[in-house]
């Protein structure tokens, strides 16, 4: 327990010898840190498969007409890219990796509330992922519906929709169990003396996220079961030919899938909120506002799903109502951005890779966020609905936001996780390459989207070719930057210089323990500060 006072010999969690040896010591691990790493290795693997699929699409789009794949195969490639990236990378992403690793440490606990359930969540995640891969290989062929599985097409296509939706259903269970674990951990496992408003802000973000995971994910589970029931037993939920309503599918799908965007983004915002005070050596500006804004985003984020459906035939009253709510959700997001920037004001800024990644996040998130307002407004949305503009907006938020926050997090906490330091110069170079590649890849899509280039089309008129070529070149530059980053981190994990316990002069609890941490994190009772960002 965290209140143990006697001195225990330090053994890092990576060297700890438990009941199991070798690979089984990982597969059977209940230590939150090892489970966090298991998620990370799995997620990074899926991420790079998704990147390869993305590059295939970019190659296809280099020239009008068929170049390297047929239209049918293009449909399958973007569907698999979406399923992998959404359900297996960005939804679990920060929460499962850094949430698992750092939540207990940040609140002064030795593990999550239910360690075995945590291990079970990872197993389910792997089972769901295998099912998703199988859906590509079975005899009916890979699903071609897009990751959204819109009915009635998904109820009638001959591709492997049932296996893919069942995979998403199973992956949802993993998400629910992780959310449940984190909520109970935060309520019950905080170190003695740590009140809710004494917690660092990454746990606050995880808390808000966990509620979304717990409450919204069952909706997609039920929806996908209804879809399977309709395909298997001809029960008319969504297909008008059977007496169903296709808009019901969209309502149910987005009741989950819009809050899911905040499952991706809230932990990302939490990471940035940890990084900025550390590298500015300054207390976060407006601690309570940032904490409560996480809850506000989670709450309002539940109620804005209809902005995905403005052109679907929804009633006018619902359209303006959803538009109003969408504008409201921008307020707590803006509070966070203003508070991050204000925190930097008069700070002792130390320009290190995690801080630069955080700056890149803010820049890209602002572009993604403000273009989101264009999509939230009915009048402009109907002009650019289902165009490349939406693709650009979505990737600026999810990749520019969540993706860059993931990179920021791994560069920030890497010395703590592995006890080693990466090459700072190479980290900065890879960031610059990724940043240039990212903007070349996605910014042209805003422009051709406004000009009328539809999303999910494998062919296009010649007028769009220059922008498509720039976009494709950007994709390969981005991939090169990613490769450099992985090379740098893998090399550092194996043979990097030994990192001190607190290389960034952080004030939160993870920096007060050795690197890498011991099995139970705290060999001595942690000292809980009323203000976790006290740099005086």
């Amino acid at each position: 327990m965290s209140n143990t006072t006697e001195k225990i010999e330090y053994v890092s969690y990576l060297d700890h010898q438990g009941k199991y040896k070798g690979i089984m010591s990982w597969l059977m691990a209940t230590d939150h840190k090892r489970i966090g790493l298991l998620y990370m290795y799995a997620i990074i693997t899926f991420f790079f498969i998704g990147v390869l699929l993305g590059l295939m699409m970019k190659l296809e789009l280099l020239a009008p007409g068929e170049t390297i794949m047929t239209a049918k195969m293009y449909n399958s490639v973007f569907t698999l890219h979406g399923i992998l990236m959404i359900f297996m990378v960005v939804i679990p992403g920060l929460s499962a990796v850094f949430g698992n690793f750092f939540l207990p440490i940040l609140i002064g606990a030795k593990d999550v509330a239910f360690p075995k359930l945590n291990r079970f969540s990872w197993w389910i995640f792997i089972v769901g992922s295998i099912m998703a891969v199988l859906s590509q290989l079975l005899k009916d062929g890979p699903p071609d519906t897009g990751w959204t599985f819109y009915a009635p097409y998904s109820t009638t296509t001959n591709s492997n929709v049932i296996m893919a939706t069942a995979a998403a259903f199973v992956l949802g269970f993993s998400s629910i169990l992780t959310g449940l674990n984190f909520i109970v951990t935060i309520h019950q496992m905080r170190a003695p003396g740590m009140k809710f408003f004494h917690m660092p802000l990454f746990p606050w973000a995880l808390y808000a996220t966990a509620w979304i995971q717990l409450l919204a994910t069952p909706v997609i589970g039920i929806t996908l079961l209804m879809l399977i029931a309709e395909r298997a037993f001809q029960i008319g939920f969504f297909d008008p030919a059977l007496g169903g309503d296709p808009l019901l599918f969209q309502h149910l799908f987005w009741i989950y899938s819009h809050p899911a965007v905040y499952v991706m983004m809230l932990p990302a915002m939490g990471v940035i909120t940890e990084i900025i005070p550390t590298f500015c050596q300054r207390q976060i500006y407006g601690y309570k506002a940032v904490a409560i804004s996480s809850l506000a985003i989670a709450a309002v984020g539940f109620l804005v799903w209809g902005h995905h459906m403005y052109t679907s035939g929804m009633s006018d009253q619902a359209r303006w109502f959803f538009s109003l709510l969408t504008f409201i959700v921008a307020v707590p997001s803006a509070i966070k951005v203003f508070n991050w920037i204000t925190t930097m004001y008069k700070g002792s800024i130390d320009v290190q890779p995690p801080f630069l990644y955080a700056l890149a996040f803010i820049f890209l998130f602002i572009i993604g966020g403000t273009t989101g307002l264009l999509l939230g407004s009915v009048a402009t949305n109907v002009q650019v609905h289902d165009t490349a503009f939406v693709v650009a907006h979505f990737h600026y938020i999810i990749f520019g936001g969540m993706g860059f926050a993931f990179f920021a997090a791994i560069h920030y906490w890497f010395p703590k996780m592995y006890g080693r330091m990466y090459d700072i110069k190479l980290a900065n170079i890879s960031l610059v390459i990724k940043f240039i590649g990212f903007n070349l890849l996605y910014f042209p899509q805003f422009i051709i989207g406004v000009q009328g280039m539809p999303r999910r089309y494998f062919d296009y008129p010649e007028q769009f070719q220059p922008a498509q070529v720039i976009s494709s070149v950007g994709g390969f530059i981005l991939a090169f930057g990613l490769f450099l980053m992985v090379y740098n981190l893998v090399k550092a994990a194996k043979s990097g210089a030994v990192a001190p316990a607190n290389p960034w002069k952080g004030s939160t609890l993870e920096w007060q323990i050795p690197s890498p941490p011991s099995l139970e994190n705290f060999d001595e009772a942690p000292i809980i500060k009323v203000n976790p960002y006290d740099y005086k």
Binding site: L215, L247, H251, I255, A299, F302, L303, G306, G313, M314, S315, D316, Q317, A318, F321, F322
Partner: protein, 94 residues
Amino acid sequence: MANNTTHTIEYKTLVKILLILLFLTFITISVTSIHLGALTVTVALLIAGAKAYLVLSNFMHLKYESLLLRILVAMVFVLFALILVITFIDYAFR
């Protein structure tokens, strides 16, 4: 903490609640024969909500839990109600 304390509810009380639940189920079925139009779903959900309240507070001992926990559970139901109402803004005006 509230969850470290054992609470025993008398069988008599449990049976009373069970009877109320059965009665509410009977009402749920009975009202289907009355044409309430747009209110059909509202009435069904109100009865279901009352039943859920009885189960949560008595069978699941929520009434012995801390105020924070009760508020959190209540918020879940408020959220559920909000989602239903907003969905029906579409269906009612389409």
